[in-house]
């Protein structure tokens, strides 16, 4: 089944595919970010592939690499029972086309990736923060954002405000 999806994508979008990785029986396709809406629409509508379920969209931050971010799309077909992972490499100032028009569930997932990584999605109907407060500054899941720790309050430091580092 993985070979079928790969075969069909290679057939139709041969120059969009940048890399193919197979690890632990899972197939990952790295594609050009401009082609994502077209590829996703094809994957959803093709009767033999019918990837009708978008499991999740997530981001990975690799600060030493250029482009810095990876946006990962996990696709699943309920009727054919096969999975596919699409990956897009994007830099800090660039934006990725939104696929909310293809799967409505992409709405909240893309908002979460925007909130936690700062990656913009073009064409998203309502791009605003979802987990952090609306006026928060910074994007927490980036590797240069520190993991903050608050000092534990004991009786000796009861009257002081806690140190946050």
């Amino acid at each position: 089944m993985d070979n079928l999806s790969l075969h069909k994508i290679k057939e139709k979008f041969a120059d969009s595919i940048l890399e193919i990785v197979e690890f632990r029986n899972e197939l990952t396709c790295v594609v050009k970010k401009g082609d994502i809406p077209a590829i996703c629409r094809f994957l959803r509508d093709d009767p033999e592939l019918s990837f009708n379920f978008l499991s999740c969209i997530t981001g990975v931050d690799l600060p030493e690499r250029n482009p810095r971010f990876d946006v990962v799309y996990e696709l699943y077909s309920i009727s054919k029972n096969h999975r596919l992972r699409l990956k897009v490499k994007v830099n800090q100032e660039e934006s990725v086309p939104s696929i909310t028009s293809i799967w409505s569930t992409a709405d909240w997932h893309e908002r979460e990736v925007f909130d936690l990584f700062g990656i913009n999605f073009e064409g998203h109907p309502d791009q605003r923060r979802i987990l952090m407060p609306d006026d928060y500054e910074g994007h927490p899941l980036r590797k240069d954002f520190p993991l903050t720790r608050e000092e534990v309050t004991f009786s000796h430091n009861l009257n002081r405000p806690p140190k946050i580092e």
Binding site: F23, R24, E26, T28, N52, F53, L54, S55, C56, T58, V60, D61, V72, E74, I78, N81, R83, R85, W103, S104, T105, D107, W108, H109, L116, R129, I130, L131, M132, P133, P140, L141, F145, L147
Partner: protein
């Protein structure tokens, strides 16, 4: 009129804020606002070794903690390409199914309570006490058990495990009948839940809804059947589905799922194989305690594993299981060091809640509570 169903509300099952735009009593727009319980679990996981992440996974869906443990561990085992031995697989199935029953009991109790049938809450929590006693017997903890480890369980099951579970399996079906007697044919229940919060199968798939909500719309998808894990393919059970996709159907699906879970527990209990409770893989799993205290090499292994952890191969995996709320998936990226580079949790409640506007726009404000209850949200998982 804009009404704020604020983060502090007895029926939102946690700190959920829903901004309702009303026209008289009809809901024109409903906007869920989440993030009040965000604790940065995914970021914290990047600073802990693979074994230290296990207690963090419990705290997300705090009602069904063993299910979260299993989802994470199966993803890590996939990354390492190891498998738990058959005895551990069976025990994992038993405990996960008991967790499913426990989660559905909390759901039916709190949902019925929101709608007004308060007795069911007391009955279901009484039953849940028996299940929590079993969890306490195994792991020492009632709720955040963290009983599973990479390759199997943390410790072997204690004496009395089998008798306690048999007692639950024998007495439980009567209790489910009791709840059904109180609710299923109740005229008030039917009036408040039938035809309310309807979502079609096509919309549900489009919005990424999974679990009992999807099965109530008619789509027969259960990951335990489609991609069996941990030995689920050895057990016989049915997947309950209904067709209408309203709150009443979701209730019926979950009640029937409890019965099917009992069926699985009974089959698993009758056939627990002999063997070890954890896969003894030297670089990954702790050696047996008797060897650690007597043998210096085992002590060194133990020390290194606890203090430093193991290094899995570089790569990424995504593994999902059927939690009581839907498809829970873990996407783990490993860079070859002892700490995971990125752990992403695909929370079922987060995605199910995003379909809330679709379910209640155009309906009356009195239905909002019933629909929010029927989605079975746990804010810990939504906000992480």
């Amino acid at each position: 009129m804009v009404l704020n169903m604020g983060p502090q509300h007895p029926s939102t099952h946690g700190v959920l804020r829903v901004i309702l735009e009303l026209d008289g009593e009809t809901v024109v727009k409903a906007i869920p606002d989440i993030g009040y319980l965000h604790t940065g679990i995914e970021k914290t996981m990047e600073s802990k070794t693979y074994a230290q992440v296990i207690p963090l996974t419990d705290r997300m869906d705090y009602v069904a903690s063993l299910s979260n443990n299993l989802a994470y561990l199966l993803a890590v085992e996939k990354l390492l390409d190891i498998q738990a031995p058959p005895k551990a697989a069976y025990l994992r199935v038993i405990l996960t199914e008991l967790t499913r029953i426990s989660s559905h009991l909390v759901w039916v109790g709190s949902h019925a309570h929101d709608i007004g049938a308060m007795t069911v809450l007391l009955y279901s929590f009484r039953e849940r006490e028996k299940l929590m006693d079993i969890f306490e017997l195994c792991s020492g903890q009632r709720m955040m058990t963290s009983y599973f480890r990479i390759g199997g369980l943390a410790q072997d099951i204690p004496e009395g495990f089998e008798t306690r579970i048999r007692e639950v399996v024998d007495t439980f079906p009567d209790k489910i009948n009791e709840y059904e007697k109180l609710l299923t044919k109740n005229r008030i229940w039917i009036n408040r839940t039938k035809g309310v919060g309807v979502i079609s199968a096509k919309d549900a798939i489009d919005w990424g809804v999974s679990g009992p909500i999807l099965r109530a719309t008619g789509v027969e998808w259960d990951i335990r059947k489609s991609n069996p894990y941990s030995g689920y393919d050895k057990f016989e059970f049915d997947i309950p589905t209904r067709t209408n996709g309203d709150v009443y159907d979701r209730y019926l699906v979950r009640m029937e799922e409890m019965r099917q879970s009992l069926r699985i527990v009974k089959q698993a209990l009758d056939g627990i194989p002999q063997g070890d409770f954890v896969a003894r893989i030297p670089g990954v799993v702790l050696p047996p305690k008797e060897q650690v205290v007597s043998n210096i090499e085992s002590m060194i292994f133990h020390f290194k594993l606890v203090v430093e952890g193991f290094c899995p191969p570089k790569g990424e995996v995504y593994h999902s299981i059927e939690s009581p709320k839907g498809e829970i998936g873990y996407y783990i990226v490993s860079d070859g060091t002892q700490k995971p580079y990125r752990v992403k949790v695909r929370p079922p409640c987060f995605v199910n809640l995003s379909a809330l506007p679709k379910m209640i726009e155009g309906r009356l404000i009195a239905d909002v509570v019933a629909v929010i209850g029927s989605i079975d949200i746990v804010l810990g998982e939504i906000d992480r």
